[in-house]
C-alpha cells in the first residue's frame, strides 16, 4: 500500500516543488548559454546604432586564423649574416609580409605572437602570426597554467593529506591552518600578494634578500614576462591546495585500516604501504581531484584582473580575462561569446574524458 502511493505519479506536487528553481535554471543558466551560442555568430555590440548581423562562424574563424612565417636573417652582399650591436642576428620586419595583401594573403593583417627557432637553416626563425594575438596569448597562458597547476597542486595536496592523516596529538590544528587560505577570498589573496610580490618593498624580496644576506637582487616578480605567470601559479596553489587536501583526506579515510595492518604483517615498509595500499585505494579520488582542479584552473581570472591586467606584454592574460575584456569592457558581445563557447567546449571535452576514464576503471 505504502509502496504503491510512492510510485504513483505526483505531477502537480512535483512541478510546484521543483518549478521555481527550474525556472531560475532556465532563465539564468540555460537561456544565457543558448544566447551565447547565437551571439557568437553575430557581430553584436552592447551599445550600437546598427542591429546585430548574422556572421556565421567568422568569429571562430578569426580566433583560429593563424599562420607560421619562416624568416631568414638579413645577409650582406657576401652572404654573411648581419649582427646588431648586441651580437644578435638581424631579421627583416614581419610587416613586409603582413601588410602585403597581394603577394601574401595568408599573412595579411596578422600580428606576431611569438617566434621560435626553425628546425633547419642557419639562424632561421619561425614566426607565429595570428589575426587575434590576444586570444592566442590567452589560450597559450591558460593551457600552461592548467598544465602546471593541475598536476602540481593535486600532488602537493596529496602530500599534505598524507602528513595530516598521521595520528599525532594536535594534528587537527595543522589541518585547520593548511585549510585557512581556502576560506579567504581569492580577491583578497591576490591583492595581498601584490604587496608580497612588490618589486621595491615587497615582503618576498626582502625575505629572500635577508636570508641570503643580500645575495639575491630584488626581483620584479609581476613586472617581467619570465616570472609573472609563475608568481600567479604559486599564489593560486597556495590558496587552493588546502581544498584538495581535504578531498584527498576524505578519500584516504575510506581505505580500511585492516588493509594497512595486513600489509604491515607481510613486512611492507612505509613507502610500500603508500605504493600498494594507499595509492590503489585513491584512484577514484585522484580522477575526481584532477577534474576539479582542471575545471577550476580554466577559469583563471581574478588573479590576472587584480595583479597584472594580463601584462606584461600579454604574458599573464587568460581565456576568461579576454572574454571579460572583449565582451564586457570593449562590448564586442559576438567575439566575446565565441571565446566563451570555445572555452565551454574545452571544459566539456575534459569532463567527457573524465567520465570515460572512470567508466573504464569500473
Amino acid at each position: 500500500m505504502a509502496r504503491k502511493s510512492l510510485l504513483s505519479s505526483h505531477n502537480t506536487a512535483g512541478w510546484i516543488f521543483a518549478g521555481p528553481i527550474l525556472l531560475l535554471f532556465s532563465v539564468f543558466m540555460i537561456l544565457p548559454f543558448v544566447m551565447g551560442f547565437l551571439l557568437s555568430m553575430t557581430n553584436a555590440r552592447l551599445i550600437s546604432p546598427n542591429p546585430p548581423e548574422f556572421v556565421g562562424f567568422s568569429n571562430y574563424q578569426r580566433m583560429f586564423d593563424v599562420a607560421i612565417l619562416t624568416i631568414d636573417p638579413i645577409r650582406d652582399e657576401a652572404g654573411q649574416i648581419i649582427y646588431d650591436e648586441g651580437g644578435q642576428p638581424t631579421y627583416p620586419r614581419t610587416r613586409n609580409w603582413t601588410r602585403n595583401k597581394e603577394e601574401y594573403p595568408q599573412f595579411f593583417r596578422k600580428t606576431e605572437v611569438f617566434r621560435f627557432n626553425a628546425l633547419r637553416g642557419e639562424k632561421r626563425k619561425n614566426v607565429f602570426l595570428a589575426r587575434e594575438p590576444s586570444f592566442v596569448h590567452a589560450m597559450k597562458n591558460t593551457l600552461f597554467f592548467v598544465a602546471v597547476v593541475a598536476p602540481l597542486q593535486s600532488f602537493l595536496a596529496l602530500g599534505l593529506a598524507l602528513l595530516i592523516n598521521q595520528k599525532l596529538p594536535g594534528i587537527n590544528i595543522f589541518r585547520a591552518i593548511y585549510f585557512m587560505p581556502v576560506v579567504i577570498s581569492m580577491i583578497v589573496v591576490a591583492f595581498l600578494f601584490r604587496l608580497v610580490y612588490d618589486a621595491e618593498s615587497g615582503l618576498l624580496n626582502n625575505l629572500l634578500g635577508g636570508m641570503t644576506f643580500g645575495l639575491i637582487e630584488p626581483i620584479d616578480w609581476l613586472g617581467q614576462r619570465s616570472t609573472a605567470l609563475w608568481a600567479i601559479i604559486i599564489m593560486s596553489i597556495w590558496q587552493g591546495v588546502g581544498f584538495h587536501m581535504v578531498i584527498w583526506l576524505a578519500g584516504l579515510q575510506t581505505i580500511p585500516a585492516t588493509l594497512y595492518e595486513a600489509a604491515k604483517m607481510e613486512g611492507a615498509n612505509g613507502w610500500q604501504r603508500i605504493r600498494f595500499v594507499t595509492w590503489p585505494g585513491l584512484r577514484n579520488t585522484a580522477i575526481l581531484i584532477m577534474i576539479i582542479i582542471t575545471m577550476q584552473a580554466f577559469t583563471l581570472f581574478v588573479q590576472v584582473a587584480v595583479m597584472t591586467d594580463g601584462g606584461p606584454l600579454n604574458s599573464t592574460t587568460s581565456l576568461v580575462y579576454e572574454i571579460v575584456r572583449r565582451g564586457a569592457v570593449q562590448q564586442q558581445l559576438g567575439f566575446g561569446s565565441a571565446m566563451a563557447i570555445v572555452m565551454f567546449l574545452i571544459v566539456l571535452s575534459i569532463s567527457l574524458i573524465q567520465q570515460w576514464i572512470s567508466r573504464q576503471r569500473s
Binding site: 505504502a2 502511493s5 510512492l6 504513483s8 505519479s9 505526483h10 505531477n11 506536487a13 512535483g14 512541478w15 516543488f17 521543483a18 528553481i21 527550474l22 531560475l24 535554471f25 539564468f28 544565457p32 548559454f33 544566447m35 551565447g36 551571439l39 552592447l46 602528513l163 599525532l168 595543522f174 593548511y178 585557512m180 587560505p181 576560506v183 577570498s185 583578497v188 589573496v189 604587496l195 615582503l203 626582502n206 634578500g209 635577508g210 597556495w238 588546502g242 581544498f243 581535504v246 578531498i247 576524505a250 578519500g251 577514484n284 580522477i287 581531484i289 575545471m295 577559469t299 584582473a305 571579460v324 565582451g327 564586457a328 558581445l333 566563451a340 563557447i341 572555452m343 565551454f344 566539456l348
Partner: protein, 311 residues
C-alpha cells in the same frame, strides 16, 4: 655531527625527543608557509605604513611589535576613505538572501526529485547536473543582456510601450541583480539529492498514509532529519557568494549604494603607498570569514569533503 646524533639518541628519552621534533618540524614549516601572508596582513593592519615597510625586511613583519606604535588608525582611515559599513551590509544582505533562497528552493526541488514521481523528473535532474560544467564566466555576457531586459516593478528603463502603458524594467544597479541569478545552483541541488536518497523512504510513506500533504512531509519529516546537509550547503554557498562578489557587481552595479565589499577594494587601487590602510581593508573583509571558519571548523571541512564524494 654523527656523534651528536648518536649521543642524542643514546637514551630512549632523547631518542623520543628527536623523533618528536622530526615529526613536527615539517608540519610547523608548512604551517608557516600557509600563515605568513595572513599574519603579515593582520599585523601590518595595526602598524603605520612607514613601520610596516621597515618591518618587511625581517621577521618583525609577522609580529605585533613595537607595541607603542600599534593602533587602529588604518581602520579609521579606511572607514573614512570608503563607505565600509554600507559595503559590509550590502555584501551580507546579498549573501544571506541568496543563501536562504538556495537552501529553501534547492531542498524543495531535491525533495521532489527524490520522493515524488512526476513527468519530466529524469530530464530535469540531468539538465540541472549538466549546468555544473558551464563556468559562470562563459555565461556572463548573455546574462548581462538578459538582466538588462527583464521586467521589475521599479525598474528604471522603459522596455515596451503599448497603448500608452509602458513596461519598465532593467535590473542594473539593484540588489536583486546580485541575488536572483545566483539562487539556482546545481551543486546545492545535487548535494540535497544525494542526502535525501539515503533517508528512509518508509518514514515518508508512513506520513503520507497518516494523511500529511507533500509540503507537510517536507517540512515535518524530511527537514528535521536534514540538519547536516543544510549546514553543508549553507557554508558552501556563503563562501561562494561572499568571496566572489567581484566580476558580476563590477559589470552590473555602477552606483555606490548597492556595491558589495569586494568591489570597494577599488577605492584603494590607486594608492599603492598606503599599505597600512589596504591591509586594514583586506582584514575587514577576511577576518569575519576566518572567525566563522575557526568556530565551525569541522563543519567547513566536512562541507568541502562532501563536494568530493560526488564522483
Amino acid at each position: 655531527m654523527n656523534g651528536i646524533i648518536q649521543a642524542a639518541t643514546a637514551t630512549p628519552k632523547a631518542r623520543e625527543a628527536v623523533l618528536f621534533a622530526a615529526r613536527y618540524l615539517p608540519l610547523l614549516a608548512l604551517a608557516f608557509v600557509f600563515l605568513f601572508p595572513i599574519l603579515f596582513m593582520l599585523m601590518s593592519s595595526f602598524k603605520p605604513t612607514a613601520t610596516l615597510l621597515q618591518h618587511s625586511n625581517d621577521f618583525r613583519a609577522f609580529l605585533p611589535v613595537p607595541l607603542n606604535e600599534l593602533s587602529l588608525d588604518n581602520y579609521r582611515e579606511a572607514f573614512n576613505r570608503a563607505p565600509v559599513r554600507l559595503f559590509i551590509f550590502n555584501s551580507l544582505l546579498v549573501t544571506a538572501i541568496t543563501m536562504a533562497c538556495t537552501l529553501f528552493l534547492a531542498s524543495l526541488a531535491a525533495f521532489a526529485l527524490v520522493f515524488l514521481n512526476w513527468w519530466g523528473r529524469a530530464v530535469a535532474l540531468s539538465v540541472i547536473l549538466a549546468t555544473m560544467i558551464v563556468p559562470f564566466e562563459t555565461r556572463a555576457i548573455p546574462l548581462l543582456l538578459i538582466v538588462n531586459n527583464l521586467p521589475w516593478f521599479d525598474g528604471n528603463r522603459e522596455l515596451i510601450t503599448f497603448a500608452g502603458v509602458s513596461l519598465k524594467g532593467g535590473w542594473f544597479n539593484t540588489y536583486h541583480v546580485q541575488i536572483i541569478p545566483f539562487i539556482a545552483d546545481a551543486l546545492s541541488v545535487f548535494l540535497f539529492v544525494q542526502y535525501f536518497k539515503d533517508l528512509p523512504k518508509d518514514l515518508v510513506a508512513a506520513a503520507r498514509v497518516d494523511g500529511a500533504n507533500w509540503f507537510q512531509v517536507y517540512a515535518r519529516i524530511v527537514l528535521p532529519l536534514s540538519g547536516p546537509i543544510f549546514a553543508t550547503v549553507a557554508i558552501l554557498k556563503f563562501i561562494e557568494m561572499y568571496n566572489n562578489q567581484f566580476i558580476w557587481p563590477n559589470m552590473v552595479v555602477q552606483t555606490e549604494q548597492y556595491r558589495p565589499i569586494m568591489v570597494g577594494l577599488q577605492y584603494f587601487f590607486q594608492l599603492n603607498t598606503a599599505w597600512g590602510e589596504i591591509m586594514a581593508y583586506l582584514s575587514i573583509i577576511s577576518v569575519p570569514v576566518m572567525i566563522f571558519y575557526l568556530l565551525l571548523q569541522r563543519a567547513f571541512i566536512a562541507s568541502i569533503a562532501a563536494t568530493g564524494v560526488k564522483g
